[in-house]
């Protein structure tokens, strides 16, 4: 089947199998490989992207479901001139990443979290990121980064 999806502001279109997942559309059709696959069970959140501005795990969304809609990945977050989004900047400054594998998903989940709740408490941040697993950072600096980004954007 044919899908047309606006990804990071650009319209894309391709013939895909019915079963093609959004994450594979992004990675294998568009070669946007920042969005990662970390599990088979929609548990890890590495594949989190924004679909019409809401965070989704792109390993549970079919490309077909995104047809005609807008997707934002971490590649589309920084400004045209490369200026990092406040969330990206906060992750950098707070050392909120180590190997970087969970990072694109964490960043996208954070963007969505802060949209819903611009001034979250630490507890709310922790609960909000429950669906995004990180093996490297112990979450400590990720939580700090989210709170710093909230501070920055509020």
């Amino acid at each position: 089947m044919k899908v047309t999806i606006t990804v990071n502001g650009k319209e894309t279109s391709a013939e895909v199998e019915d079963r093609t997942l959004l994450v594979h559309y992004l990675r294998d059709v568009l070669n946007l490989t920042a969005t990662n696959v970390g599990c088979d069970t929609t548990t890890c959140g590495a594949c989190t992207v924004l679909l019409d501005g809401e965070s989704v795990k792109s390993c549970t969304v079919l490309a077909a479901q995104a047809d005609g809609r807008e997707v934002t990945t971490v590649e589309g977050l920084a400004g045209e001139d490369g200026t990092m989004h406040p969330v990206q900047k906060a992750f950098h400054e707070q050392h909120g990443l180590q190997c970087g594998f969970c990072t694109p998903g964490m960043v996208m989940a954070t963007v969505s979290l802060l949209k819903e709740n611009p001034r979250p408490t630490e507890e709310q941040v922790r609960a909000g990121l429950e669906g995004n697993l990180c093996r490297c950072t112990g979450y400590h600096n990720i939580v700090k980064a989210v709170l710093a980004a909230a501070e920055e954007t509020a």
Binding site: D40, H95, G100, T103
Partner: protein, 759 residues
């Protein structure tokens, strides 16, 4: 001012944050264009004889390029005849664990591979499986009948001497389990291979390109120079990606057989059942001491569950053995170990690799001993910790602890935690009959890092004519931030700013000799090699500058703020690095160093965990975690803290949540992240870190390793805290992970026995 010791944010981050890293599965390079995809057929049984494999249906399936079984592996060296326990590339006659690779299907796309593996028909004749390590040690079911036993590496005395225990006022005997856990790097195993004539390039998600090259060359039966290994970005390793699995060797083999590029990335479920696990030890222990709190004798008789093939099982047992005496001065220490094969996934290194297990057990025992003699556990520790004036200290296992301040570390943690107030609060809740009890748990630890010390590490620094520098390192990063640290070391020595330093690792053509990253060795071996290169370059530069400025070399000074040389007292005439590189001519300004430390180093610390235990549900919540981890001077405190945070989370996870479990038939029951309770942000508090920097004399920067500290210190502190919360009810021990069910049962058993005693 030196950049060392300052909080420098990572230079590698902007790329990772904006366009993502490039892990193996992300590679979109010409050599891999049109690569076919490997999917493994894995054994669904823990122990069985393969009586037939029919690949005909799979071979006809859409997109299938080839299906290979052990019979196709006719062009690789046979397993060594003198090693009956050798691991075959694909299982031939017998499978020994669920997840063992039996066949490989190669397809045009990943999805076609998932369909086609279902069509490979393997006939299995089930054999009895042995899952429990103590059962396996009885040798009733043998994994390798030709070996005659499942016990691989027995070590230690036949008989123990009981006399030292006979003289103790208090003797405690227990059996503790250090459960099997899964390392779970967020990036699963992944590899790709492409041949160019006689030479193969393998991209692998791995902790060491150079070892990977040797293993692949050996597996394929080619000379090492025919293999180039590149490790692009790696999404975590935690010890599980050191060494390379047969799954990766086979990718290179299939690319050769097909004359076509091939790639492979496992699924998470495959990773959980087929990537090596960690820990998995059973400790039978005996501890004796006097009522004044002095520990006099300690015995550990333990088994390492190696899983179905020995791999590094014997090494893990050795590491545990070395660390049995831990931080304490104990007159008698007795150790015996056995490495035992079971029908489970092979066990290998996982953050700490054998050392956390030793610490977990003695720290648990010290608490039980404290309880027994009615003394505060902090006081018992203080009375037995090796005092600061005894360093260097030679242990009962022959290690020489370089430097340490164990009592101070413990006292600082107690103070920061407000130990007395915590105890008062604990009392208050108990007295009020609160259903949320407070538990306070301590651990003191020492660990050994850079245990492979005689290997050393390669470093090379090249200064270019534009004044920039390139660093080549044989160590390897899986997220530790080496590029930043190595650039800091260069800036500190040479005054070349970090943004003009490029760090290259993980390519065997660029760095043929290297040992990679494990056992917290990188900074103190690989980093020091880079440091020594910079020192050498400075000496070369001094000579060049002296010649150019017609001065005595001894009079030349390098201003590391500006990165320029001048004659002492004549700051006007300067030579910068660009000019010096030019003066060096053809050969350039280059230094090569293979740094070999003389000994390993011994970081140490103390942790204190505060938990809340809900007596109605058994649920445990970690509310505070305070740690002091001393690994000598910190090159970049931000990076060191990051390592500690990650380690603590993994340590807490082992104490409370994570376990890779099997049923009696050897079926893994935690084979997805939906079942394996990997710790998330919601289960953790922010950590409270204290710093102390006791240098080592083993290397010129005085640095030790920090990568595993958090894991080693956190697990026993949390486990002790859980038991401590319930100790007034008579609970003396709870196995890990302290799940609500286990905790709830312990509470009920204690209450039951209280009632029985009252009757």
């Amino acid at each position: 001012m030196s950049v060392l010791g300052t909080r420098v944010v990572r230079i590698e981050d902007p790329r990772l944050l904006t366009t993502g890293a490039t892990y193996v599965d992300d590679l979109r390079i010409p050599q891999l264009a049109g690569a076919a995809f490997v999917t493994y057929v894995r054994s669904p049984l823990a122990h069985a004889r393969i009586t037939g494999i029919d690949v005909s249906a799979a071979a006809e399936a859409p997109g299938v390029v080839a299906v290979f079984t052990a019979n196709d592996l006719d062009d690789v060296p046979p397993p060594p005849a003198d090693n009956p326990l050798a691991e075959p590339l694909l299982a031939k006659d017998v499978v020994r664990y669920v997840g063992e690779p039996v066949a490989m299907v190669i397809t045009e796309t990943r999805a076609q591979g998932e369909d086609a593996v279902e069509l490979v028909a393997v006939d299995y004749e089930p054999l009895d499986a042995v899952v429990d390590v103590e059962e396996a040690a009885k040798d009733e079911v043998l994994l390798f009948p030709e070996a005659g036993t499942n016990i691989v590496a027995p070590n230690g005395p036949e008989e123990f001497d009981d006399a030292p225990f006979a003289e103790c006022e208090v003797v405690i005997e227990r059996t503790f389990r250090n459960q099997r856990v899964a390392p779970v790097p967020m990036e699963v195993r992944s590899a790709a291979a492409a041949w160019d004539g006689e030479r193969v390039t393998v991209w692998s998600s791995n902790q060491n390109a150079q070892t990977t090259r040797m293993i692949i060359a050996g597996g394929l039966g080619v000379e090492p120079d025919k293999v180039r290994v590149i490790t692009p970005d790696v999404g975590g390793g935690f010890g599980a990606k050191i060494g390379v699995d047969r799954d990766t060797v086979l990718v290179a083999w299939a690319a050769r057989r097909l004359g076509r590029a091939v790639r492979w990335t496992e699924t998470r479920s495959e990773s959980l059942i087929a990537m090596q696990h960690g820990r998995a030890q059973v400790h039978k222990v005996k501890l004796g001491g006097n009522r004044d709190g002095k520990i006099l004798a300690y015995r550990m008789d333990f088994m390492q569950d190696a899983g179905a093939y020995p791999r590094v099982g014997p090494l893990l047992a050795n590491f545990t053995t070395l660390m049995v005496p831990a931080v304490y001065e104990i007159p008698t220490v007795q150790i015996r170990s056995k490495v035992v094969l079971t029908n489970t996934t092979p066990v290998g290194a996982y953050r700490g690799a054998g050392r956390p297990e030793a610490t977990a057990t003695i720290e648990r025992l010290v608490d039980i001993f404290a309880d027994e003699i009615g003394m505060d556990p902090a006081e018992v520790r203080r009375r037995n910790l090796i005092p600061a004036d005894k360093f260097p200290y030679t242990t009962a296992t022959g290690l020489v602890y370089d430097s340490g301040e164990y009592v101070k570390a413990l006292d600082r943690v107690l103070e920061a935690a407000g130990y007395e107030e915590l105890r008062a609060e604990q009392e208050r809740r108990r007295a009020a009959g609160d259903t949320k009890l407070l538990g306070i748990g301590l651990s003191s630890y020492v660990e050994v890092t850079a245990l492979d010390f005689p290997n050393g590490e390669t470093g090379r620094v090249v200064i270019h004519r534009d004044g920039s520098a390139t660093v080549y390192t044989g160590s390897h990063t899986q997220g530790q931030g080496h590029a930043t640290s190595w650039a800091m070391i260069v800036q500190d020595q040479l005054g070349i700013p970090m943004d003009k330093v490029t760090v290259i690792h993980g390519d065997t053509d660029a760095i043929p000799v290297g040992t990679g990253t494990y056992a917290s060795r990188s900074l103190q071996v690989g980093g020091i090699a880079v440091h020594e290169c910079a020192v050498k370059i400075k000496e070369q530069a001094r000579e060049l500058a002296a010649r150019e400025l017609e001065a005595d070399p001894a009079d030349l000074v390098l201003d590391t703020d500006s990165g320029a040389w001048h004659v002492q007292g004549v700051p006007g005439t300067k030579l910068d690095w660009a000019r010096l590189a030019e003066l060096a001519g053809e050969d350039g300004l280059t230094a090569d160093v293979h740094f070999k430390p003389s000994r390993p180093t011994f970081p140490f610390g103390a942790h204190l965990a505060v938990v809340e235990v809900d007596t109605e549900t058994g649920l445990v919540r970690l509310v505070r975690h305070i740690s002091l981890d001393d690994a000598g001077p910190l090159i970049n405190p931000i990076l060191a803290e990051g390592q500690r945070h990650g380690g603590i989370a993994q340590g807490v996870a082992q104490a409370l949540y994570e376990e890779m479990a099997y049923d009696a038939e050897g079926n893994p029951v935690t084979a997805s992240l939906a079942d394996y309770s990997m710790i998330s942000a919601a289960e953790l508090p922010s950590f409270e870190l204290l710093t102390m920097e006791t240098p080592t004399d083993v290397n010129p920067l005085g640095v030790k390793g920090i990568g595993e500290a958090g894991t080693i210190g956190a697990t026993p502190a949390v486990q002790n805290a859980v038991v401590d919360a319930l100790s007034h009810l008579g609970v003396r021990h709870i196995e890990m992970p302290a799940t609500p069910e286990r905790v709830w049962k312990a509470i009920n058993e204690a209450r039951g026995s209280e009632k029985r005693a009252a009757q």
